[in-house]
Amino acid sequence: MSFQPVHFYQTGTFTVGNRLLEASERSVQANIERTNSLNSGHRACQGCGEALGARYAIDAAMNAARGRLIAANATGCLEVFSTPYPETSWQIPWIHSLFGNTAAVATGIAAAIKVKKQKGQMGDVRVVAQGGDGGTTDIGFGCLSGMFERNDDVLYICYDNGGYMNTGVQRSSATPPAARTATTMPVGPEPGNQFGQGKFLPAIAMAHEIPYVATATVADLRDLEYKVTKAMGMRGARYIHILVPCPLGWGAASEDTILLARLAKETGIFPVFEAENGEITGNLKIRRKQPVEEYLKRQKRYAHLFGKKPAVATIARLQAAADKNIRKYGLLDQEAN
């Protein structure tokens, strides 16, 4: 992408250190002055993708807002593991109200800031709202759509781990087809989650023609920082949807969080792109296309597809969906094929 002055995969991995870069090109996380918005000591599981994503996203937002940021948080893992009373991991003004109203609470905060600014009682302060996929694509969907439609000055960040992990891994409308959850058990003639029409919120956000929509994963943290920074440079309703693997809910090894996020992108299962005013303006290309099995087989939520009799037809359907994403979002360079 155009923002990227250095190809980070020059060593064959993504692990190139910031020491190879000019100070101005280093990541927000590399800066000793970073906020640590979500401070250490919280109670997330080992390998939690959401904690990693939130830390990078909110620090980048804080950096862009020069430390003047308020966050609204939906009920969910991020809320519970960060603020068991009387402790808090948040180093920024932060409010949790309910599960389904975070976008509206953020609208209220933005409205109050606007009035306080007019009155000269407050400088410029920016607003971030954040929630999991359940709080965003299901119960908070109405409030989120309202916030988009009014184009309120809020950056909403969804940490998508594909289910209600905080309540014990139940299905959400972001749970992928065939995945096992506590409410889509791998039993009966069609084990795991149903193949529905899908509810890919970034596309729905784009349909609102809001100024900025982007997807990201915790495998490409520079890309995530870039997108948050870009979003913070804009006004109005903005939406970033981050894929955050959940070792507990996905039945994956804690050390595989980054790998799984990368495989989600490299298989085409999770398209990484950005859009402005409803039109796609850029994407992250797949570097080495992987078959979906590489992604699926590392997760116990798909174990029922790989027994003695592999569910070939189901895997083919999942592969077809990934291929459709690749076509739809132009994820493969023609030359690279």
Binding site: I92, T107, G108
Partner: protein, 417 residues
């Protein structure tokens, strides 16, 4: 300034004078005229430094209010009926967070069957939500209570509902005295929150509280309402010095001192009851009225003091606790505990059924004669009820009753008389 104006508009003017900073609006009858009025005032620049937000639901209305109030903005919204049920989760949240939001509830019935007319079921469904609930008797009182509500809310850090009868007050044109901006400013200082979302002093609001402190937090909510109980009469006294009239307070007594029969009620029906009481007094009957303004906190002591010398108490309420009887009566009984009084619950005016002076005369006469039952449904059409009960005795099938009952009533348009 004296004006002949609609109740909703009087409330809109009062809220405008309170210098609100954020107003959330979502339409539901019969509160719509209030937010329409405020929207126009903000757009026309008559109310300045205020964000008027058209939200997508009542749940969003209260949620936006939570965000703006937590950021230090004086915040207002209005709702009714199904709207208050739809925002219920956020209603509890606002009081739990101690946010001094003021909300008008234009009281209306709750369905099914859907009904847009007045009773108190909506507000009373939120009686345990932790909000202060004040009931207006007249349009003047509705106007005044909003000014008092902002002050009270910000003093005790609790949200306040101002409840006014839908249509009967909201849509009635009456004379009201609209105060000046100077008067309101003298009474109501700017909102100074003790805790606010502020980057210069970051706090976490709304953390999870476990068994180790939850009881204490809930007790403090109760303690704040007990403080409000003491504060409400003081604010009413302050109000009088600035605005020159009695408004607010915990209760209104009318001819209760020597009364043998006291009727207890809330809201606009008090006017009709007073008229009946006047007529019965002329006929020599010792009867009086106790109006409850502050339903939450409930003024147990004032109610007890007002009732203790009476022989009988009739609680006339526009609400029904299905399966037991009255809602307000339960609280009045609590106030009367230990007193040897005859207590009666009268459920009246549900879904806009008119409560006529004629019916009240008959009702109170029956009470005085010792013939009133413990629980009465005023002007119930027993023919309709008995036909339906008979139908249900003869067929096992379940389902909604309203349609067949309407057929028995024999009219298409609602009969409110």
């Amino acid at each position: 300034m004296l004006k002949q104006t609609e109740g909703s508009h009087a409330v809109a003017e009062a809220v405008g004078l309170c210098r609100p900073e954020v107003i959330c609006a979502y339409p539901i009858s019969p509160q719509t005229h209030i937010v329409e009025g405020l929207g126009e005032m903000v757009k026309a620049g008559e109310v300045t430094d205020c964000e008027f937000i058209n939200v997508e639901s009542e749940f969003a209305a209260m949620s936006v209010a939570i965000g703006s109030s937590a950021t230090g903005a004086r915040t207002y919204t209005a709702t009714a009926s199904q709207g208050i049920l739809f925002m219920c989760e956020a209603v509890y949240n606002a009081s739990g967070l101690g946010l001094p939001i003021v909300m008008t509830v234009a009281n209306r019935a709750i369905g099914a069957p859907i009904n847009i007319w007045n009773d108190h079921t909506d507000a009373l469904s939120q009686r345990d939500s932790g909000w202060i609930q004040l009931f207006a008797e007249t349009n003047q009182e509705a106007l005044d209570l909003h000014i008092l509500a902002f002050k009270l809310a910000e003093e005790v850090s609790l949200p306040v509902m101002v409840c006014m009868d839908g249509f009967i007050l909201t849509h009635a044109y009456e004379r009201v005295d609209v105060p000046t901006q100077e008067q309101v400013d003298a009474f109501l200082p700017p909102y100074e929150p003790r805790q606010v979302l502020d980057p210069t002093d970051p706090v976490s609001i709304g953390a999870m509280v476990g068994p180790e402190a939850f009881s204490e937090v809930r007790y403090l909510a109760h303690a704040k309402q007990m403080q409000a109980l003491e504060l409400i009469p003081k604010l009413a006294a302050q109000f009088k010095t600035i605005f020159g009239r009695d408004s607010g307070g915990l209760t209104h007594s009318y001819l209760t001192d020597d009364a043998e029969t006291i009727v207890v009620a809330m809201g606009s029906i008090l006017g009709t009851i007073k008229d009946v009481v006047d007529e019965m007094r002329q006929a020599g009957e010792k009867i009086g009225v106790l109006g409850i303004i502050s339903y939450r906190p409930f003024p147990l002591e004032e109610v007890r003091n007002a009732l203790q010398n009476a022989k009988r108490v009739v609680v006339l309420e526009k609400s029904l606790a299905v399966g037991i009887g009255g809602v307000v009566s339960t609280d009045v009984r609590m106030a009367m505990s230990g007193l040897q009084l005859e207590g009666h619950t009268v459920v009246a005016g549900l879904g806009g059924r008119a409560i006529t002076m004629k019916s009240l005369h008959a009702l109170f006469a029956k009470a005085v004669a010792g013939e009133l039952e413990r629980l009465t449904f005023l002007d119930l059409d027993w023919d309709v009820v008995n036909k339906q009960l008979e139908r249900e005795r003869t067929t096992r099938r379940s389902g909604p009753a309203a349609e067949s009952m309407l057929r028995d009533v024999g009219v298409v348009a609602a009969r409110i008389g």
